[in-house]
Symmetry: C2
Subunit: 332 residues, 2 copies
């Protein structure tokens, strides 16, 4: 269903379901029919295909149970918008399924505010949902438009392509290490890294700008090595990475070298785009950086073969034995 | 994302994520691009709008933790297909977000089998998903096609419309009462009612056949009184129900009268369609019953005003004080 009440309401206007409706239900804008019927109705646009993605966030696994609800609302949608960005798609609409132990106004209001502010910033309409009592879980399905021939697929990388990333890598992992008591950061540095972890910025404008320029793209949600591995597997290629070129924040640059490498190569949750493009697109891609206010950095290249070779700026091999994150393999 | 692994795989082929991929990943058919990229890609069809719905099922709330996984897989998709049916939409694709405490082949294989068998029966393609460790929760978003002008909306009922339901009502509630030890049933009767509860049949063909015939429709998921209330509220009307006309199974007809009334009026989870149609459509609707192999019963009519009046076949008022189900108000 597309209602924010899963059942009939026979009780007072300020019932818990009434609260959910109040915060999440708005009139349909772009959609033909929005929240409140069995289904929402969305009109396709001429010449576009619909890009669709789903992400589920579970309390204690993808976020701390005591995270600020406004940040949680932002992040739950941001990670989905990031998938659209990685496809070069323009956000249009999303649905939200929400399980929560209890419906409290002081928690739901900022959750909705954080989520809907990001939605509005991207013209992405909340068209439906479901709410139930249960362990705190958010599942969002997001939909966007992209011309079929310009979608940034993972299997379209070519040998000889440059490898690029947006922004800086590993910042969210640096914050997570503080929560996990692996290391500490000065308060101001921690606040900056924590903001990267809790309120990531989906690179939607970059994804759309890369249509026709990039060959393949994805968002770095589970760590550069693991995510790049998906492009390589899908495209049947290998890659060489210049670890000295990996873009890092000022806070990151102050960390011990081993910690930097760990965060840069395996830190997830930054939601930067990693993409491949032909050498001929270098100038055009570099020219996007200024208008987008976003660093775009060449970090290596794709080649025939398999696997990822790490080297320093001088071309000497770099050893690294960390591994990527598996939700079932890891207990964290 | 649309992968059934949320992280890089660096371990053995029979890892837990490998199992999930094995059971849920199939090549794209109707979709331009299916499971395995940041987004799936779906081409719109000319003249159709996309009907979209989301439902979330939580262990212990929407199903018993020890339910047969094949039944759970079936039901999780069925309740979503039922929302498409209630809109008159033709199923096309769905995404699955799955949180589960552990990935065991003997549980995942039948879950996938139950879900994908129903999906195949309706030509509804699994195009993406997300899997994570967490309390057992399934969230499905389903997409279907419907001509915009023929969608069966809740707000399109008209005064004087006949009120219809498909199939029989209250059977799932009768089974639930056995689990809750409210009453008992003979083994054969219980098995039949339990099948209605655990493997409901979404009335997809009926919904599509009602395009152009019915004015308004929804699926009875939370009980006839509560769900009918949604149509009445959306359309600004009242209704009179003939409780003697409510269609009931042979097992239901053997129950004490008060129990029958309770199950028929407030029992959810049957996923029959409740719809309104003009008197002029009576013959055409009745003629659908044979080909669909599905009883279609007139149970009352809509009228100006508000609220639902219950009466017996002779027109005498019937008293009923049960109430509908609220996921937050009820602890069950």
């Amino acid at each position: 269903m597309t209602e924010f009440h899963h059942a009939a309401q026979t009780d007072a206007p300020l019932s818990e379901f009434g609260l959910i409706r109040r915060y999440f239900t708005r009139p349909a804008r772009d959609a033909v029919l929005g929240v409140g019927d069995d289904c929402a109705l969305l009109s396709p646009r001429v010449g576009q295909v619909l890009a669709i993605s789903t992400d589920m966030l579970v309390s204690g696994r993808h976020f701390f149970a005591d995270v600020a609800p406004a940040h949680l609302g932002h992040k739950a949608l941001a990670v989905n918008l990031s998938d659209l960005a990685a496809m070069g798609a323009e956000p249009r609409a999303f649905t939200l399924a929400l399980a929560l132990p209890e419906a409290r106004a002081e928690w739901l209001a900022p959750l909705a505010q954080g989520m809907l502010a990001l939605a509005d910033a991207h013209g992405c309409e909340l068209i439906g949902g479901d709410t139930t009592k249960g362990p705190l879980t958010l599942s969002i399905t997001v939909m966007g438009d992209v011309p079929a021939a310009q979608a940034l697929r993972r299997d379209a990388a070519q040998a000889g392509d440059d490898l690029w990333v947006s922004g800086t890598l590993g910042d969210a992992r640096l914050a997570l290490g503080v929560f996990w008591q692996e290391w500490s950061l000065a308060p101001e540095a921690f606040a900056a890294m924590r903001a990267r972890m809790e309120t990531p910025t989906p690179r939607v404008a970059l994804g759309m700008a890369l249509r026709g320029l990039a060959h393949a793209a994805l968002d770095v949600s589970d760590g550069l090595l693991g995510d790049l591995g998906h492009i390589l597997a899908a495209s049947g290629l290998g890659a060489t990475l210049d670890v000295d070129a990996l873009p890092r924040s000022a806070v990151m640059a102050e960390q011990p070298p081993e910690r930097q490498l760990q965060c840069l190569l395996t830190g997830g949750d930054d939601y930067e785009l990693c993409f491949t493009a032909p050498r001929t697109a270098r100038a055009a891609i570099a020219a996007l950086s200024g208008p987008l206010g976003l660093p775009l950095t060449r970090i290596g290249y794709l080649e025939r073969g398999t696997g990822i070779r790490l080297q320093d700026h001088a071309g000497a091999p770099v050893a690294f034995t960390g591994h990527a994150f598996d939700h079932f393999a890891s207990e964290r």
